[in-house]
């Protein structure tokens, strides 16, 4: 059997890079993308400089994937941006940017991936939400709205794509040591962690383990689900 083809967005840094390396170790052929060039490379890895919210760029990337690999097994919609700010101090440009990357990006990548996956009658799509959604985190209105939309997209796409053998699920990590939370004060992080059943920071491996479960061929009866890490 051919090595699976796995597309991961936002692979330059953080969870995305960790997942790319994780699936390379597992023998996948991994395609990654980010807005800026990646400063790392591995055998079996191919990187595109693509903004997930740029339809033209995304479609061009999928054309290349179709030409190079002929199909796509997995899509991991990891790319995301956040902004910590009170709603009364948040410009609409920030709201638009967050919605573009987190919602439009997830929608666009899922749509194009489903077209490729449909040919084989098999596919796994994993989206990224956040514990900020069930926590209704104050100071993150635009981010929480975008990540709630990702949960809703997961549920509806799960239904729409089921007939093509494609599952769509979602993982919602809590605080992890990534760039996304570097500007969040320590006491805020500590307060968030105290709301989890298991009050510790998440790790990249915690996320990878959940994504592994969704990607397994045996998980074909699991779709439209969101798993929040840490116990919320």
């Amino acid at each position: 059997m051919d090595a699976p083809v796995t597309l991961i967005t936002g692979t330059r840094i953080g969870i995305g890079r960790h997942l790319a390396e994780h699936y390379l170790r597992a023998g996948h052929r991994v395609v990654g993308c980010s807005r800026a060039p990646a400063d790392w490379t591995r055998e079996g890895y191919e990187h595109y400089e693509t903004d997930v919210a740029d339809e033209k760029g995304v479609k061009a990337m999928f054309s290349e994937i179709r030409r190079s690999y002929g199909h796509l097994d997995h899509l991991i919609n990891n790319a995301g941006i956040a902004s910590m700010n009170h709603s009364l101090l948040t410009p609409t440009s920030t709201v638009s940017a967050i919605l573009a990357t987190n919602v439009v990006g997830t929608f666009l990548l899922s749509r194009e991936a489903a077209k490729l996956m449909k040919r084989k009658g098999y596919g796994r799509i994993v989206n990224f939400s956040s514990v900020a959604v069930p926590l209704k985190l104050a100071g993150e209105a635009a981010y929480v709205a975008s990540k709630s939309a990702v949960v809703a997209l997961t549920q509806v796409l799960g239904r729409e794509l089921a007939e093509f053998g494609i599952t769509v699920n979602c993982v919602g990590p809590g605080p992890l040591a990534t760039n996304l939370i570097r500007s969040v004060p320590k006491q805020t992080i500590d307060r968030l962690l105290s709301l989890q059943a298991i009050p510790r920071m998440g790790t990249f491996d915690d996320v990878a383990n959940t994504v592994d479960f969704f990607l397994r061929p045996e998980s074909g009866f699991v779709t439209g689900q969101t798993i929040y890490l840490g116990g919320l």
Binding site: S83, M84, N85, H86, L88, L89, T90, P91, S93, T94, G139, S183
Partner: protein
């Protein structure tokens, strides 16, 4: 202080009187917050007074209240509806809310942009 206002006016290419009015307007609003919300602010306020982050005396909710009050006061005074929201609000290095002067600069730029 007059000298600082002249320098600010020259740097931002706005009339000196406009700079004076915006700084006074911010100080007035801080004083109102002191009166109505029991805000603990320094007795003497000028453009160098730290507002938020570092040595600033505002917490995040007081900052929101002040910024919204300043937006409304600017509209009343100048007839222009400006938004003083900023994505760098919570950043200590780039926040336009670091000092009264930084907030005035930001408001004047927004006023100029219309």
């Amino acid at each position: 202080m007059e000298q600082a206002q002249l320098e600010r006016a020259a740097r931002l290419e706005v009339p000196h009187d406009e700079v004076r009015q915006v700084i006074e307007l911010i100080i007035d609003n801080v004083n109102q917050l002191k009166d109505t919300q029991g805000l603990k602010a320094p007795t003497h306020l000028d453009s160098a007074t730290a507002l938020f982050g570092g040595d600033g005396f505002l917490d995040s909710m007081a900052l929101v209240t002040l910024v919204v009050a300043v937006e409304q006061a600017i509209e009343e005074r100048f007839g222009t509806n400006v938004s003083l929201a900023d994505p760098g609000a919570m950043s200590q290095e780039h926040s336009p809310y670091r000092t009264i002067g930084a907030l005035a600069d930001y408001a004047l730029k927004r006023l100029r942009a219309g």
